[in-house]
C-alpha cells in the first residue's frame, strides 16, 4: 500500500475546481438572486422590492409556463425511464460478453461526438414532411398526405429522448450490474416467481440508478429552452421566457424567473434524493 498523502494536499488538489465553481457558478447564482429583488437593474443605486415575485406569481401566463416547463421535463424523464430501463436491463442480464456490452456503450456515445446543431437539424430529414418517417407512412398507405411530425410536444419528447437516453441508461446499468447474482438466486430459492424477483430485488436495488437517471434527464431538459423553442410548436417554457426578458434587458424579472426555476428544481432534487440513498450507487 502506498502512503496516503496528507489531508491538506487533498484540499489543495480540489482548490482549482472549487475556485472555478465559485467564480462561475456560485457567485453568479447569488447575484441572480440579488438582482431578482431589484426594482431596476442597478448596483450603484439599488432599490430592493418583492414586486417582481408578486408579478410573476399573479401573472395569468405563469401557471401555463410552469406546467409546460415542469410537465415536459417530467414527461421526458418518465419516457426516458420507460425506454432506458429495459435497455439497461437487457445490457446487464442478457448480454454475457463484456466486449458486446462495451460495444453497445460506445454506440450509445456516438451521437455525442456529433455537433449539437447537426444533431438537431438531422431531425428534419427524419421527421419532416418529406422525411423518412412520412415517406414510410405513405409507402405503407397508413396516411395519404404528409403529416406534420416536426412541431409538437411529442417531437420535443422524441428529440429529448435521443439526446438524454444515455444519461438514463448508464446509471441504471451501473446499479443493475452491481447487483450480486446470488441475491437473485436467493430470492428464487425462497419461492419468488420471476416477476416478484424483478420487483423485490432487481428493481428495488436499482432504484438509486433510476433516481440518478431521472435527475439527469429532468435537470438537463429543464435548462434546455432552445430545443423547445425550435421544435415544440411554440409552447412557452420558463427558460425561454427568461431568455426573452434578458434579451430585452429586463434583468430583474428574468432573474426572478431564474430564481424560481432553480428553487423548484432544487426542491425536486431534494425530494428525489430523500427517497433513495445515493451513496449506495457509488460505495
Amino acid at each position: 500500500m502506498s502512503t496516503r498523502p496528507p489531508k491538506i494536499m487533498n484540499y489543495i488538489l480540489l482548490l482549482p475546481g472549487l475556485l472555478v465553481i465559485a467564480f462561475f457558478l456560485v457567485i453568479p447564482l447569488l447575484l441572480t438572486v440579488v438582482i431578482s429583488f431589484m426594482q431596476e437593474f442597478s448596483f450603484t443605486n439599488p432599490i430592493f422590492t418583492v414586486e417582481n415575485y408578486i408579478e410573476f406569481f399573479t401573472s395569468p401566463q405563469t401557471p401555463t409556463i410552469l406546467a409546460n416547463t415542469f410537465g415536459m421535463s417530467l414527461l421526458a424523464s418518465l419516457v426516458a425511464l420507460l425506454v432506458g430501463y429495459p435497455a439497461a436491463y437487457f445490457m446487464t442480464f442478457r448480454i454475457k460478453s463484456i466486449k458486446t456490452r462495451n460495444l453497445i456503450i460506445s454506440l450509445l456515445l456516438v451521437p455525442f461526438l456529433i455537433d449539437w446543431n447537426v444533431r438537431t437539424i438531422a431531425w428534419i430529414p427524419i421527421l419532416g414532411e418529406s422525411g423518412i418517417v412520412n415517406y414510410l407512412l405513405q409507402y405503407f398507405n397508413i396516411v395519404h398526405q404528409p403529416v406534420s411530425l416536426l412541431f409538437s410536444r411529442w417531437t420535443l419528447i422524441i428529440i429529448w429522448l435521443q439526446s438524454n437516453l444515455l444519461f438514463m441508461i448508464f446509471p441504471i446499468y451501473l446499479a443493475l450490474s452491481r447487483i450480486d447474482p446470488d441475491l437473485i438466486n436467493a430470492a428464487r430459492v425462497l419461492k419468488s416467481p420471476p416477476h416478484r424477483v424483478f420487483y423485490e430485488i432487481i428493481f428495488k436495488l436499482s432504484l438509486p440508478g433510476v433516481i440518478v437517471g431521472l435527475t439527469f434527464v429532468f435537470v438537463n431538459t429543464l435548462g434546455d429552452y432552445i430545443t423547445p423553442s425550435l421544435w415544440a410548436g411554440g409552447i412557452q417554457v420558463l427558460g425561454l421566457s427568461v431568455a426573452n426578458f434578458a434579451a430585452n434587458f429586463v434583468w430583474p424579472y428574468a432573474a426572478t424567473q431564474s430564481t424560481v426555476l432553480i428553487l423548484i428544481s432544487l426542491a425536486v432534487l431534494v425530494i428525489l434524493f430523500k427517497i433513495v440513498d445515493i451513496k449506495k450507487l457509488v460505495e
Binding site: D182, N185, A186, A187, R188, V189, L190, K191, L205
Partner: protein, 377 residues
C-alpha cells in the same frame, strides 16, 4: 425408506468445456444429514445449485420426492438454500430478510410474524429484527441466512459452505447449532464443506467428490475405516501411507512389501484382495493406531524410525517420525500418555494388522498415479 433426492448420472458442463459434474448418481433418504465434501472446485457447489434449480443440468435425471425436476423452476421446488456468502438482501431489515420466503408464499402477516419469532428464538437472533444486514456481525448474518432459508420448512435444505466465511470458533458453534436444528425440525439437510472435521462430525452419510466425480458415498465411519480410494482416505482424517506391492494373501490378511519391510494388513472391505496380488497399492494406517514401543511388543507390524517433532493439541499429542529422508510417519496419542524422546532418537513403531488396510485405486479420476498421490504432494 423413501428417497427424497435421487440423482442419476447428473452431468453439467460449463461453457469453455469445464466439466463440473461427470455423471453423478446418489440418493438421499428422509431426514438425512447429508454432507458433500471435496476440495474447492470439485463441483459440490454446482451440484447444490442444480438441486436448488438455479442452475440447469445438461444430462441425467434428478428427482425430488419422486418428481422429475427437469424444467421445474426453483420457486416450484420443495427446496430451500442457504447460499455461500449468505446473500442477505441488503435493502431489507433482518426481519424482512427472514420473512421473505413466507411473504412470497402468500402467508398472512400474523403467521409470518409468529414464524419469524419462532426462528429468531430457535437461532438466538432475537433483538436484531430491525437492523440492516450490514449492521450485524458475520456470525449473526450466518444465523439470519439460516433462519431465512429454514422458515419455509422445505423438505430439502441446501447449505452451500455455511461454515466458511466466519472464524473457527464460530464455525464449531454453528455446526453444533445446525445439528440441533436438524434434530428439532427434521427434513433433509444437504451441506457442502471442504473441512473434514465438520464433515465427519455432522454427517449421517457423506459423499466425497473430486473433479466432478464421486469418490465414495457412505457413513463417516465407513469412509474413515474402509476408504475405496486413496483420495477418499486422505480427505477424511490423518493418514500414514506406504507404497507397496501385494505379496501374499491369507483368508484374513494381506502382506504388502514396501521399501520399509513387509507389512501385514486386513483385507480391504471394498475390493477383492485376491485380484490385488502383485499389484501396486497404498498401505494405509491411521495415526491413532500407531504406537511407540521400546521393547518387542509382539505386534504384527514394526517400523524403525527417528523421532522428529511433536504437536500438542491439549487433549492429544501428534508425534512425527522419519522413516527415511522423505517419509514421515505420524502417531497420535492421548496427551495423558507419558512420552519422552530426544529429537533424532531411534524408536520402533508398531501397529496391529487389523487396523491397517490397503487401497488399490488412487482416485476415481483417471490418470492419477498411486505413487504420485503418495509421494507427490
Amino acid at each position: 425408506m423413501a428417497k427424497v433426492i435421487e440423482a442419476r448420472k447428473l452431468a453439467k458442463r460449463y461453457k469453455g468445456a469445464v466439466e463440473a459434474l461427470r455423471e453423478i448418481s446418489f440418493e438421499v433418504d428422509e431426514n438425512e444429514f447429508f454432507i458433500i465434501m471435496g476440495p474447492s472446485g470439485c463441483g459440490k457447489s454446482t451440484l447444490l445449485r442444480i438441486i436448488a434449480g438455479i442452475l440447469d443440468y445438461d444430462s441425467g435425471e434428478l428427482y425430488i420426492k419422486g418428481e422429475d425436476m427437469k424444467n421445474v423452476p426453483p420457486h416450484r421446488r420443495d427446496v430451500s438454500m442457504m447460499l455461500e456468502n449468505f446473500a442477505l438482501f441488503p435493502h431489507m431489515t433482518v426481519y424482512e430478510n427472514i420473512a421473505f420466503g413466507l411473504r412470497m408464499l402468500g402467508k398472512d402477516k400474523d403467521e409470518i410474524d409468529r414464524e419469524v419469532r419462532k426462528m429468531t428464538r430457535l437461532l438466538h437472533i432475537e433483538g436484531l429484527e430491525e437492523r440492516m444486514p450490514n449492521e450485524i456481525s458475520g456470525g449473526q448474518r450466518q444465523r439470519v441466512a439460516l433462519a431465512r432459508a429454514l422458515i419455509i420448512r422445505p423438505s430439502v435444505l441446501l447449505l452451500d459452505e455455511p461454515l466458511s466465511h466466519v472464524d473457527y470458533r464460530l464455525q464449531r458453534k454453528f455446526a453444533e447449532m445446525l445439528k440441533e436444528v436438524h434434530r428439532e425440525i427434521g427434513g433433509v439437510f444437504m451441506l457442502t464443506t471442504h473441512d473434514q472435521e465438520h464433515g465427519l462430525s455432522l454427517a449421517d452419510r457423506m459423499l466425497i467428490m473430486n473433479s466432478g466425480l464421486v469418490e465414495q458415498i457412505g457413513t463417516p465411519t465407513e469412509i474413515y475405516n474402509d476408504p475405496q480410494t486413496l483420495f477418499a482416505a486422505r480427505f477424511v482424517g490423518e493418514l500414514n501411507t506406504f507404497a507397496g506391492t501385494v505379496e501374499e494373501i491369507s483368508p484374513d490378511a494381506v502382506w504388502v512389501k514396501t521399501e520399509f519391510g513387509t507389512f501385514k494388513a486386513r483385507h480391504p472391505a471394498t475390493e477383492n484382495a485376491r485380484d490385488l496380488v502383485g499389484r501396486r497399492v497404498a498401505y494405509i494406517v491411521r495415526p491413532e493406531h500407531v504406537r511407540v514401543s521400546r521393547e518387542d511388543s509382539g505386534q504384527d507390524n514394526r517400523l524403525s524410525v527417528y523421532f522428529n517433532t511433536y504437536y500438542y493439541f491439549g487433549h492429544f499429542l501428534e508425534l512425527v517420525f522419519s522413516a527415511d529422508a522423505q517419509t514421515r510417519v505420524k502417531s497420535v496419542i492421548s496427551a495423558n500418555e507419558p512420552f519422552t524422546a530426544k529429537v533424532g532418537e531411534q524408536l520402533t513403531l508398531t501397529w496391529p494388522y487389523t487396523k491397517a488396510t490397503i487401497v488399490s485405486k488412487p482416485s476415481v479420476v483417471e490418470g492419477v498415479d498411486i505413487e504420485e498421490l503418495i509421494y507427490g504432494k
